[in-house]
Symmetry: C2
Subunit: 200 residues, 2 copies
């Protein structure tokens, strides 16, 4: 592996360039209309056999008890900053097909596609979405009475982001400039595994 | 379940509205530069612990043998139309973390996030990407010598789309107008599973 690097090509679609996962959110509610557009974007993602194996539980800070319930599902390290987000989401995947009952091996993948749409819609609307794997699926299942055939997948903290210097006490601000990724030559192959495909 | 419906809100970000999975592609190559931007977009997706558990094998029609190799991995029904795409992609997920060797339960989900970025970048560039679950992971593993800890996830057919009336012989043209999804009231909950959250 070579070093990871932090520069994104300038010709990438703007909301994809803008999207990142901050830990500092503004103390500002998000318009209900905007929240709705995020799920509308998710709804139109692709899925295997158009199964749409995604569901979402949403809690809005200061507006419902679901938000506080969702906070209690988070790993401690995430709860520290994510409890300041404007809203929290739990994503869930149905791992069998409605029609046949057979295993849907693309369920989690397709929840990823829907969450991708949601995140890009958010970026286009000036919002940030920080996906988290660190939470208790068991607690979520119990609290929200999630049926057996559905699996809790991820949680999302969302809202308007704020400057790192406005981080609440106890919150470590991530910096966008610190983002890094593997270079394309390590990711995109041709011929066989590991043979870099030249990309211009 | 109520009826699925086919209208998408008009205030959704344009490339998300435009994205769909056609079966008719134009007989026109895609600029190498544009192909590169799709993977650059994928590279910047979010992932659990920034693991970036995604790799891609790419074949370009008329340009390399990888394209023909990828066609042979497809289910017959997909090969019929997908062999006319400008390029094909195999996506792969690493199901254990590099650092700890522990299971990464978000690997497939995160490949979905990367593929979501790729698909929106494509739509913004006037291209279409049709993800497919119907292919042989075993054949792909053997042909491309994919290491054990990586799993073939999905295949993507991509290119400029063409009008349904230009479908090659034997190809059934999907119509964009026939797309449908479950209504939001069935997808977004609050309080507990199944309790629709009102969204405006």
């Amino acid at each position: 592996m070579t070093e990871m690097n932090g520069s994104i090509r300038s010709d990438i679609h703007q909301p994809i360039r803008d999207r990142w996962s901050p830990t500092v959110f503004a103390d500002r509610p998000v318009e209900a209309e905007k929240i709705a557009t995020l799920f509308e974007a998710a709804r139109w993602a692709a899925s295997s056999f158009n199964e749409q194996p995604w569901r979402f539980i949403v809690g809005v800070r200061g507006e419902d008890e679901t938000f506080e319930d969702l906070v209690t599902c988070l790993a401690e390290g995430n709860a520290l900053w994510a409890r300041h987000a404007a809203f929290l989401v739990l994503t869930m995947a149905k791992t069998t097909y409605d029609l046949t009952g057979e295993v849907n091996r693309h369920a989690w993948h397709d929840v990823g596609l829907a969450t991708g749409n949601l995140s890009i819609q958010a970026a286009a609307a000036g919002l940030a979405v920080h996906p988290m794997g660190g939470f208790s699926p068991e607690r979520a299942r119990e609290l929200f009475v999630i049926p057996e055939e559905w699996e809790p997948v991820a949680m999302l903290a969302a809202g308007y982001e704020d400057e790192p210097e406005n981080a609440p006490e106890g919150v470590t601000a991530r910096l966008k400039s610190e983002r890094s990724r593997h270079p394309l030559a390590e990711l995109v192959f041709t011929g066989r595994w590991g043979e870099s495909r030249p990309l211009t």
